[in-house]
């Protein structure tokens, strides 16, 4: 018996969210006296030590070009399900990120397993029941759920649990799924966003995010946000009105109906902090708010605030950060 954990295939690398999922699986294995089997797809040799370090005892590597070039959740989920059967796994752990977020429920349906998506802490285990905490109501609350199905699927919210550092050397074996499930789904093309092509960080992965709202008055002033982000090595984001008036693309909208993010630092410039915006950013570790309205509700949900004209403050802050970086 083992705990199976899904490692998201990602351009020949292993993302931190997948390693956190391995650490989560290792925590359950330690509590239950079982072991951790990671399922990988065409994993490069140099990623194996990271997966072992995070707590995997064994790696079953599914080989075949089809798995590196597919957007089919069905194809991937069927391979994972075969590993689950081979390992007689009772708990299957995924990152709540990228393809893991979608493969997890698919596998849960196939295995008739209960699913908790977005676990934010290690579980409490009482016999066959796992108690798992997750955020609900878009970060306005958290819930503890008890799950008692015979097979359990758990996906782990990125940036929520500590990475283990146990230095295991996992045994690696090739795994052949019982059949390759074909799919009509074809990946036609990938167009990288301009900012990422020029060295920017994709917003969901960014540890630092600078965000602008209506207070910036128009798209011509966006350079203010970009200059500050550039000095920090941060991604840029925006509030809903900014995306809806097409100053910025939709994929930069953070908030309840856009993207929910949890960076280490979120700097909000000219954003009043409506409850819908907060729901997308309230998981940030540190929040800085710059706004000319001292009554802006965002100050009540921020760690640091500056009241004043963003057009004066932001260039000064950018300059101060440049000087700080130069001294590092």
């Amino acid at each position: 018996m083992s705990i199976v954990v899904y490692i998201e295939p990602h351009k020949g690398k292993v993302k931190k969210a997948s390693l956190e999922a391995v650490s989560y699986a290792a925590n359950i294995a330690q509590q239950t006296g079982t072991s951790v089997t990671a399922v990988t797809f065409n994993i490069p040799q140099d990623c194996i030590s990271d997966i072992g370090n995070a707590g995997a005892d064994k790696i079953l590597n599914v080989e075949g070009d089809i798995y590196s070039n597919t957007s089919s959740i069905k194809t991937i989920a069927n391979a994972v399900t075969d590993v689950v059967k081979a390992e007689q796994a009772t708990v299957i752990v995924f990152p709540f990120d990228g393809s893991g977020q979608a493969v997890a429920p698919y596998v849960a349906a196939k295995e008739k397993a209960g699913i908790i998506a977005g676990a934010s802490e290690f579980p409490k285990i009482n016999g066959d029941t796992l108690e798992i905490k997750k955020n609900v109501y878009s970060g306005k609350a958290s819930a503890v759920y008890a799950i008692n199905s015979s097979v359990k699927v758990i996906s782990v919210l990125p940036n929520s649990v500590p990475l283990a550092n146990v230095g295991k050397t996992p045994e690696v074996a090739a795994f052949q799924p019982s059949k390759t499930v074909s799919s009509s789904v074809k990946l036609d093309n990938f167009k990288i966003n301009d900012d990422v092509a020029h060295g920017g960080v994709p917003i969901p992965d960014a540890e630092l995010v600078v965000s602008g709202g209506r207070g910036l008055k128009g798209p011509e002033n966006w350079g203010l946000v970009e200059d500050l982000a550039h000095v920090l090595g941060a991604a840029t984001a925006c509030s809903r009105p900014v995306a809806d008036s097409d100053w910025r693309p939709h994929h930069e909208h953070v908030g309840q109906t856009g993207l929910a993010i949890r960076p280490n630092l979120y700097i909000a410039i000219g954003i009043s902090g409506a409850i819908q915006h907060l729901a997308g950013v309230n998981g940030s570790k540190t929040i800085v708010v710059i706004n000319n309205d001292p009554e802006a509700p965002f100050f009540k949900s921020a760690d640091y605030g500056i009241v004043g004209d963003a057009f004066k403050i932001v260039p000064k802050l950018t300059e101060a950060l440049k000087n700080f970086k130069a001294k590092q």
């Binding site: 429920p105 698919y106 699913i115 970060g139 009509s184 994709p202 760690d303 640091y304 605030g305």
Partner: protein
Amino acid sequence: MKILVPISQVPDTTAKISFTDNDTELNAAGVTFIINPYDEWYALVRALELKEAGKAEKVTLIHVGPAANEATIRKGLAIGADDAVRIDGDGDSSFVASNIADYAKNNAYDLILLGKETISFNSAATGGLIAGDLDWDYIPLATKLEVDGNSIKLEQDADGGVTEISAALPLVVSAAKGMAEQRIPNMRGIMAARTKPLQVVAPVASDSSIKVVSFQPSAGRQACVMISEDNVEELVELLHTKARVI
């Protein structure tokens, strides 16, 4: 081609969230309930656009929940769905999904289009569960969806770029921001919604294996430290030494 749009009922985006019954139930007092915005603004509206463009014959709403939720379902009919189905039951996401999958299979739907997640549970699980139950493929987080007969073209935001995907029906697709714009129902739609068919179906047996132990409202942050606009260096210092984020 028939489209099935699963909708959830959630507290309004501005709702203050609190709990009752030993913190095991949402306190519904004073809370307005709405259709989950991802289901309504993006999935339902895109389904209606496809019908208007002659790419789909029918758009059906499906909801798993008690009779009290019918007002929310009628709102979806007012926006323009042709008819609606309410599965008369309640349970965890696996229960909801298996009931929707069962209805889709027995009534020959080709495309199931739903929001990427609910703003209440944020699990993003229902689409994948339905697809797994039906053994269909699943395309999550779509920002564009075009239909031409049996062929589907989609775009997905991922990894700092846009992935273009083609596929064939049947499919489950989850919708993210960008797919469509919110529509406000007009008076004619609201009147028409009153008489549109809303069928009530008994649930198929499926055990819920998940129970709430307790809910807890999120703790607020410590009071905000205000910094003078003439002293941004202090902010840099605090971010470095105190918050330790730079």
